[in-house]
Amino acid sequence: MTPDHLSATFSALADPTRRAILARLALGEAAVGELAEPFDMSLPAISKHLKVLERAGLIARGREAQWRPARLEAAPLKDAANWIEHYRRFWEQSLDRLGDYLRELKAKEKEKKSGPKQ
C-alpha cells in the first residue's frame, strides 16, 4: 500500500462519526438511513461521510439498490495499523538471517581448517 492510500485512510479515520460508522458496518452492511439513525445528522451529511470512507477504500457501496448499502473493507485498516510493525520486522528478520549467515561462515571456516587432516 502506498503512503497516499494510507494518508487517505488516516484522514478518513480522524473523524469520530466516520469511526462510529465503521464500527456499525463491522456488524454487517447497512443503508444510509440505518447509519444515520444513531446520529443527529441529515442523510446528506452521512452520505458525505460515506463518500470519504469510500474514497479511502474503507467501505464499498452496492450499485444495484436505490439505497446503496455500505459494507466494510478491512484491508486498509490492517495496513494502517501495521506500518511501523512491518519496519520493525524488516530489521528483526534481517538480523535473524545475519545470525544464520555468520553461523554458516563459521561452519565453512571450520571445514577449511580441518579439511587437510581428513
Binding site: 502506498t2 494510507l6 488516516f10 511501523i84 528478520q93 561462515l105
Partner: protein, 165 residues
C-alpha cells in the same frame, strides 16, 4: 534527517531498536555488513533475495539494494553513508522506494558493533524512520492515543465475522 522533519514541531518519526548478540568476532560482523557480496546474503526479510547490492563504503558514498520478495515483487532501496568507523559504528540513510521510484519511507540507521569477547559481538541497530507524507504524523499520534489498537481489534473482529459467514 528527512525534509518532512523540519515541517513543524509535531512528532513525525518513530525509532526501531533491535539488538542481537552473535558468536563471531566484531571485525567479521562489520565485514558482512559492509562487503556487498556478504550483505546480499542476509539483507531483508525471510525468503527475500537481493539481485542488486552495491556498496560504496565512503562518507557520502551510496548504498543501493534491490530486494526481491518470494512473489517476485522488487523493492528498491537507496541510501548514503553518514558515518563509517570500522569496526565500531556505521550510519547510513535508507530510503525505501515504490516501483515508480517514489519515496515510501526514509530512515537514518545507526549500527553499533560492541566487542563482548574475541568471538562475541553485540550488534545494535537503531533506525529512526519517517514517512514522507503526512500519514506518518497522524499514524504516530494515533499510536500514542491507542486508537490503532482498536483498529486492530476491529480488523480482527471483521476477519472473524467473515470467517463465520
Amino acid at each position: 534527517m528527512a525534509p518532512s522533519n523540519n515541517s513543524g514541531g509535531k512528532l513525525t518519526e518513530r525509532t526501531v531498536l533491535v539488538t542481537r548478540v552473535f558468536d563471531a568476532p566484531r571485525s567479521l560482523v562489520f565485514k558482512v555488513w559492509t562487503d556487498p557480496s556478504h550483505l546480499a546474503q542476509w539483507w531483508g526479510p525471510k525468503g527475500f533475495t537481493n539481485p542488486v547490492c552495491e556498496v560504496d563504503l565512503r562518507l557520502g558514498g551510496m548504498l543501493r539494494i534491490v530486494m526481491r520478495a518470494p512473489d517476485g515483487a522488487e523493492h528498491p532501496m537507496t541510501g548514503v553513508f553518514r558515518e563509517i568507523a570500522p569496526p565500531e559504528r556505521l550510519a547510513f540513510t535508507n530510503i525505501a522506494l515504490d516501483a515508480a521510484g517514489m519515496t515510501l519511507l526514509e530512515g537514518l540507521t545507526t549500527v553499533t558493533f560492541a566487542e563482548l569477547g574475541p568471538e562475541r559481538t553485540r550488534l545494535t541497530v537503531e533506525s529512526r524512520a519517517v514517512a514522507r507524507v503526512d500519514f506518518a504524523s497522524r499514524m504516530l499520534e494515533g499510536m500514542e492515543t491507542g486508537w490503532t489498537q482498536s483498529i486492530d481489534r476491529l480488523g480482527e473482529y471483521i476477519a472473524k465475522l467473515r470467517a463465520v459467514r
